[in-house]
């Protein structure tokens, strides 16, 4: 990536006559940025572009069935939470039925869960949120402690009931308290921060491609009118004030791709 070609292109681009001074400066920094890598061998392609059959790099579809990270109690708590964050109604199914909890489970079991791609070592400081997470816990560990703390809170507050046993109204009270930071959780769990994480992940599960386990039957996309993994709208661009007629399609297709016998 960062090789001679990139630097070379930047230099070549800056010699173009239409260049404004501003972009000239920008490209110069680019060139400087890449200069240290200048000894990396550049590759030159001549003639026909190289091509390999099956060079697609498709995402691995989620495997249905069972939980990969959550235990049974965490799973039922999570399903109850996502259903309160995005409740099902007459506009369509809610967070539980579209599989948001499944989505989160698969994410926590994967590289996202242990923040494999982030620097997670000390020193940790009491610092502004903009400075990133200040703990070595990735999301998976945060969920484990957070869900346990929520259930512990519910047991002491609601006569030994788990979160999933509460009425929807009671559940909303707990979640609101969590969001506002008005309820204290055990094990040092910061309520507002954990709430924010769950809300974020629930939205992702609701709107990410079904290939990742959530957004079942593309219900999230139907709701917001997103057409999905299509990449050609030329036939529709000129049709102003006309609703886009095609149903959404996922990376792995949609149900009409299968023959109905």
């Amino acid at each position: 990536m960062a090789d001679k070609t990139a630097g070379g292109q930047a230099v070549a681009a800056s010699s173009s006559l239409q260049q404004t001074r501003r972009s000239l400066l920008a490209t110069t920094t680019l060139a400087l940025l890449f200069a240290p890598f200048a000894n990396v061998e550049a590759r030159t392609f001549g003639g026909v572009l190289p091509w390999i059959p099956e060079s697609a790099d498709p995402p691995t579809p989620f495997q249905p069935g069972g939980w990969h990270y959550f235990d049974a109690r965490e799973a039922s708590t999570m399903e109850a939470i996502v259903e309160r964050l995005i409740p099902g109604d007459d506009l369509g199914p809610g967070g539980r039925d579209v599989g948001c909890a499944v989505f989160i489970d698969r994410q926590l079991a994967g590289p996202y869960g242990d923040s494999r791609r982030l620097y997670m070592r000390p020193p940790f400081a009491k610092a502004a949120a903009t400075l990133g997470p200040q703990s070595q816990d990735g999301p998976a560990a945060q969920y484990r402690r957070g869900l346990a703390a929520i259930n512990a809170y519910c047991r002491t507050t609601f006569a030994n009931k788990e979160f999933s046993d509460l009425s929807p109204a009671e559940q909303d009270t707990v979640l609101t308290g969590l969001e506002k930071g008005t309820i204290a959780l055990s094990d040092g769990v910061a309520g507002p921060q954990f709430f924010k994480l769950m809300l974020q992940n629930t939205k992702e599960g609701f709107l990410a491609d079904p290939i990742y386990g959530g957004n079942r039957d593309m219900a999230g996309w139907v709701l917001i009118g997103f057409p999905g993994a299509r990449y050609d709208y030329r036939d529709h661009i000129e049709k102003h004030n006309v609703a886009y007629p095609l149903p959404p399609v996922g990376i792995m297709g949609r149900s009409s791709w299968n023959q109905k016998s």
Partner: protein, 410 residues
């Protein structure tokens, strides 16, 4: 016809000579003859089989998979020990014309002598003169890897008796010189029938259905006759010329084995020769292939296919199946697509394919692979759909037809 060609290459050759001080040819093999030989060797695509990709030109060693087993091409550089440098001119002509080697033993027809037999002695000698100028390579090739009983070269004499007619090209006097030049190139050096003509159980070309299309290495070499549905009936002779010269035309883009034929052979041919080929092919009238009724658009398979096409294919091949000229092949009215077997299409949809890039059209657009997203039934559905929409008509494709090629012939 040929004359103008010769003078053309000659003037180019003289130009080259004067600008870069080309090695002076010895008097016996005149420069003109060598250059003509270079051109004819390209027309005969000798390098396709006698050069290993990335290897020394003409040094042999390429394994060729035939219905009978694997045959390895030989070293035809002028190396006297391992190549053909010590062969007499007559021996060389006999290899092409009769399919025999210098020691009198038979060649296997993986070397297309059943086509090359038509090549004139004059042209064969020009090829020989050219081959004498390539760098000699010391490369001993063990050619025989066939299982018994085919491993016995003598048996090829019997095969030849049954399947091989030796004979130089005989012009058809009722046809034009151009037509005859086309016929000479197609039947002889071009050995187009090697791929495009259906084979008998013994691997010989069936003369009665010459160029009616055949399957090779999980690709279909389509019908080249003037058949409207499965052949070149909808192509003009300009379309054919452009396809052979650049690899694409308003109908399609060459892929698979044909892209190599174009890159190394036909794109190097002169315009008059390509025109001659087109004239000849356009005149190949055969009984039209039996009419086929298109699948009804309402069947469950067609409906599923339509959905897949709209979502995955229409962006490039367009809703009306017209594609984009020279970029995305036209599927509407596409002859090859409506052949009785959908081999190439299955192959292309599963594994993807890059079209040919030539000097005249270097883009080489590629079709993405769909094996990771479509299951066998879905590939079958979308192909049944494209084979039976926009006026196309062909037998439906089954999931089983697709499954065979999922791992084969990548």
């Amino acid at each position: 016809m040929r004359r103008s060609l010769v003078t053309n290459t000659l003037s180019i050759a003289i130009l080259a000579l004067s600008t870069c001080g080309y090695a002076v040819a010895d008097d016996k093999q005149s420069f003109e003859q060598i250059e003509r030989g270079r051109y004819l060797a390209a027309a005969g695509d000798c390098a396709a089989c006698h050069t290993v990709p990335g290897g020394a030109p003409f040094a042999g060693g390429l394994p060729l998979v035939t219905p009978f087993g694997t045959i390895v091409s030989t070293n035809i550089t002028p190396d006297p020990k391992t190549g053909i440098g010590a062969w007499s001119d007559d021996a060389f002509v006999d290899a092409l014309h009769k399919g025999v080697r210098a020691d009198g033993s038979q060649l296997y027809p993986a070397m297309p002598y059943p086509s090359y037999t038509k090549v004139t002695r004059d042209d064969a000698l020009a090829i020989r003169a050219y081959l004498q100028t390539v760098t000699p390579v010391d490369h001993d090739v063990v050619a025989d890897q066939l299982p018994f009983p085919l491993s016995i070269r003598k048996d090829m004499a019997v095969w030849n008796m049954l399947n091989f007619t030796e004979g130089f090209f005989q012009p058809t006097t009722s046809k034009s010189a151009e037509w005859n030049r086309g016929a000479y190139l197609v039947q002889g050096l071009g050995h187009c029938g090697t791929c495009h003509t259906p084979k008998s159980a013994l691997g010989a070309e069936k003369a009665d259905v010459a160029l009616k299309g055949s399957e090779i290495e999980s690709w279909l070499a389509p019908d080249l006759t003037d058949d409207k549905r499965t052949g070149l009936g909808n192509w003009t002779s300009d379309d054919i010329e452009s396809y052979l010269k650049t690899g694409s035309n308003q109908h399609g883009i060459a892929s698979g084995p044909m892209s190599e034929v174009i890159r190394f052979s036909t794109s190097a041919m002169s315009d008059p020769d390509l025109k001659a080929i087109a004239v000849y092919l356009k005149d190949l009238k055969t009984a039209p292939s039996p009419a086929v009724t298109a699948q009804a658009a309402s069947t469950a398979q067609m409906t599923a296919g339509a959905a897949i096409y709209k979502d995955s294919c229409a962006a490039c091949h367009r809703d009306d199946g017209h594609g984009v000229p020279h970029l995305f092949p036209r599927l509407a009215g596409n002859g090859a697509l409506q052949a009785s077997e959908a081999v190439s299409a299955v192959h292309i949809v599963l594994h993807g394919s890059q079209g040919v890039g030539t000097k005249a059209a270097p883009t080489a657009p590629a079709m993405p692979a769909f094996d990771w997203v479509l299951n066998d039934a879905q590939v079958a559905a979308v192909l049944t759909y494209v084979r039976n929409t926009w006026g196309n008509a062909a037998a439906p494709v089954s999931a089983g037809d697709v499954g065979k090629y999922r791992t084969a012939g990548k």
